[in-house]
């Protein structure tokens, strides 16, 4: 699968633009601030129904306008040898201020945005990836949940439902505090679905990690010279199978705190190196390898889940990575590990020299 063309209208810095891509490597070059990241974000939006950096939809509208549109034509190449002609699918995203965002597939609207997620998977690597190590548990949950959502529609549905329950329950806890009364029956109405969905999501995360971890460790080993052991653990706020009792026991605590203090929305993924926390004990180089391996393992795990490779978006990463890790990425491109790749760089001569030995076709788009 690859993105053949992209059209944007009033999206971020773009008034109106149209791009044609090739199925192999696309290098988007141009000065900083010219819109390279916004172009990749448009592709990300088309795949994940939202901006990569958590920017709200209204802020994606070009300044002074009141709607934006992104449209992409994806081509599927049949994997088998039947030589059937490739089929093309058009995805359109439109958002108008104050209205519901809509996604259309071949001009037919998806009933729900969630029905689109995962159909056109992407993996994005950008300079903010180190947030996965540096920042709080929310970043890591978002990374793993986002990956699982692309592979498993039921997981996404459960997660959306669970998050909604927590939102409702937190608001309810605040109301109880304001009024000084507690409606036990109403509080109970949120307990059972929270337990049921929470357990399902927690087990799914455990199962997912079993598939993901070997991919991750393989990539880390290839990115790093040393023989250090890396690991990812789920640090849960409850023992699997005991969410019911855990939430019951936390009810007084929740009423006092006016929010749901325990559950899968508070669980974390811990990153370890030789059994110690990576954030404290990993060197700069080890942390960089860790982050790149997280993303490459995301690519592999998504590619294993479906008979199509995700699009790989490499946004401005040559500045941030050192030679060793860049060489590894280029080597993987040479080995045809990836499908369609998008690279942005403010220094075209650097990209050209890095990619000069690749046999595959490379297209340069100057913005």
């Amino acid at each position: 699968m690859y993105l053949k063309s992209l059209q944007v209208k009033q999206f971020k810095s773009y008034a109106e633009a149209q791009f044609d891509f090739i199925s192999n490597i696309n290098c988007i070059v141009g000065e900083n601030g010219i819109g390279k990241t916004n172009l990749l974000d448009a592709i990300h939006f088309l795949s994940m129904t939202k901006s990569a950096r958590g920017v709200g939809d209204p802020l994606c509208i070009q300044h002074g306008e009141d709607y934006f549109m992104i449209q992409g034509n994806f081509v599927y190449q049949k994997q088998d040898a039947s030589k059937l002609p490739a089929s093309e699918t058009q995805i359109t995203c439109a958002y108008q201020r104050g209205q519901k965002k809509s996604f259309l597939r071949d001009q037919k609207a998806y009933p729900r945005l969630a029905d689109h997620i995962g159909n056109f998977p992407v993996v994005l690597m950008d300079p903010y990836d180190t947030d996965l190590i540096r920042e709080g548990s929310e970043e890591r949950r978002r990374f793993f949940d986002g990956m699982m959502a692309q592979m498993d529609r039921a997981f996404l549905d459960n997660l959306l439902r669970y998050n909604r329950i927590v939102q409702q329950r937190n608001t309810l806890l605040k109301h109880f505090a304001e009024r000084g009364t507690v409606d036990r029956i109403l509080l109970d109405s949120y307990h059972e679905p929270m337990v049921q969905l929470g357990e399902t999501i927690a087990s799914a995360r455990v199962e997912f990690l079993k598939k993901y971890l070997p991919n991750f460790q393989t990539h880390y080993a290839k990115l790093s010279d040393d023989r250090e052991q890396v690991n990812i653990n789920i640090e849960s706020t409850f023992p699997l199978g005991e969410l019911d009792a855990t939430l019951r026991n936390a009810e007084a605590q929740d009423l006092a705190a006016q929010r749901s203090t325990l559950g899968i929305h508070r669980d974390d993924f811990s990153f370890e190196i030789n059994g110690f926390p990576l954030k404290k004990f990993g060197s700069q180089g080890q942390q960089k390898s860790f982050v790149v391996a997280l993303k490459l393992a995301q690519f592999d795990t998504l590619a294993q889940a479906r008979p199509r490779k995700p699009l790989l978006l490499l946004d401005d990463i040559f500045d941030k990575l050192d030679d060793r890790r860049i060489q590894r990425l280029v080597q993987m491109m040479a080995e045809d590990h990836f499908g369609q790749v998008f690279i942005t760089d403010a220094r075209p001569e650097r990209t050209k020299s890095l990619l000069k030995n690749l046999k595959g076709e490379i297209k340069y788009l100057a913005l």
Binding site: Q99, Q168, D188
Partner: protein, 203 residues
């Protein structure tokens, strides 16, 4: 271009009010306002009159809380309906959807919404007390919960089940031929008709 400056305060006010309606942005609101100005004055006055009447003269059935022209609604008043059977729904659109299936012979109870702390809707804002009163009268043998299969619909169904537990009645929910996250209103009539016939009894 952003439309913050209108040439007229009156236009601005009209756009402001019209754009408060669901699904209508500022641009559409302006289009509608300008359209009304192009049409004969009588059309706008009739619209305004209809809106005022809608809001001030609409009445609700004292028994099921569906919109009525005064007194009991047509369904509650009918001798052909099974009075021991009540289907609980969110709003009048659900009543119309179920009536269109022609499969349901009982009466309704319109809650007027579903429980959602986020939307500021608590059980006391809904017709839940009156439902309990209807059931406690002793004439009811079965309550069918015909709420949307959304998280809020499920929570409300759970709450009602707990509230009605003490009464010797059967509580069931319409079978889920309805897609997850779907609204009752958008479900096609055949699916809904089958759902209401093949309802599931709550534990």
């Amino acid at each position: 271009m952003a439309m913050n400056n209108y040439p007229s305060r009156i236009i601005e006010q009209a756009v402001e009010e019209i754009s408060k309606l669901p699904g209508i942005g500022k641009k559409s609101a302006l289009r509608l306002a300008l359209h009304l100005l192009k049409r004969p004055e009588s059309q706008s006055l009739q619209l305004a009159h209809a809106l005022v009447q809608l809001r001030t003269e609409t009445q609700f059935c004292p028994q099921c809380h569906m919109i009525s022209d005064g007194g009991l609604c047509g369904i509650c008043n009918s001798h052909k309906r099974e009075e021991s059977l009540i289907c609980v729904v969110e709003d009048m659109r659900d009543v119309l959807a179920i009536e269109n299936t022609g499969q349901f012979i009982g009466l309704y109870h319109v809650l007027g919404g579903i429980i959602s702390p986020l939307a500021g809707i608590s059980p006391s804002d809904l017709q839940i007390e009156s439902l309990i009163q209807r059931v406690s009268s002793g004439k009811i043998t079965e309550v069918i919960l015909g709420l949307s299969p959304t998280m809020e619909g499920d929570t409300t169904a759970f709450y009602l089940t707990k509230k009605l537990k003490e009464f010797p009645i059967k509580i069931s929910t319409i079978a889920r031929g309805i897609p997850i996250g779907g609204d009752l209103e958008y479900t096609d009539e055949i699916t809904l008709g089958r759902s209401i016939v093949g309802r599931v009894v709550y534990e």
